[in-house]
Subunit: 101 residues, 4 copies
């Protein structure tokens, strides 16, 4: 990719109401990732580490769904060029469900 699609990141207020909640969940998720590091350092049992990784993925998925909802409400529905937003949204859901799997 040689053309920068985004020079400066756009700023939005679509998730303003959920911002503190999202940040709290991300901090908890950071703690979970550090917890998994500790488990690996201590040679803990693989299946338990896998379970923790599953729980991190579930956390990321759940934060993503919240953002998706806010995005549809606050960006897609209010956009001038709705068709462009729908394309972008579908690609985001595609990436989101793919990485997920």
């Amino acid at each position: 990719m040689d053309k920068p699609t985004v020079e400066r990141p756009k700023q939005v207020d679509s998730y303003r109401h959920d911002k503190q909640r999202i940040l709290a969940r991300l901090r908890r998720m950071e703690g979970q990732v550090r917890g998994v590091q500790r488990m690996v350092e201590e040679d803990q049992y693989c299946v338990e580490i896998l379970t923790q990784l599953s729980s991190i993925m579930a956390a990321a998925r759940s934060i993503g769904l919240l953002l998706l909802e806010d995005h549809i409400r606050g960006c897609v529905l209010t956009a001038e060029d709705k068709e462009a937003k729908i394309q972008e949204l579908t690609e985001a859901i595609d990436r989101f469900t793919k990485s997920v799997g």
Copy 2:
């Protein structure tokens, strides 16, 4: 659940050869989670945050697959009670693919 299934976590060496690689990936993942926090604090665009979350899930998934492989090689194949290990493994894969989706 009131009975502790695991009093002290079992210690294994099944992922010994991948330990440093797994730790490096987990540290990178921790950085990604902090990066997402920054994006949210700066009100960055929802779709870009979603893309980052997708990438964290993909990272967790890929670390999980590595652990799964090591687990099968180092724990399931060498276990005395193989049938119990297979049950446990299937449940782990189930949880892993579910949280995923």
Copy 3:
């Protein structure tokens, strides 16, 4: 749940333009499912059957994404009660990505 949420299924034309494409893909998917039945009947190798099942899931996912896009364009954006549609949509994406994983 004792109250029937849908007495008669709603009829929509949101996916009218993709209808033939969706039907063609569903017919191909039906053929894939029958192909897997044959593989199982012939005791074919588990890993190859798994690969076929993966491919069916990918087909279902891809049809789902197309429907999702049409739904957002043709039902959510045009709805009178947009907030109710967004809730319903988020739950559909949630179920969709969960079954997926």
Copy 4:
């Protein structure tokens, strides 16, 4: 694809005990796919079709997990070249969880 990767499919009996169960589930899945075709033909509501697709993916996933378990028990554990089987298995799980998402 013009070069046959598999001349004759390998035949295994690893899922012999689950064969009828797997076939019954695949037949039910075939019926579900036909049901979705009917829903599309009748212009039924997109969200309900999505829910049905989610349920098909969940069915495929659940059959896959059963096959995976049988495969580990009946093919991987009993293989002579266990390392090759583990590689193959990990790739199958990778594909399986990816298509899933």
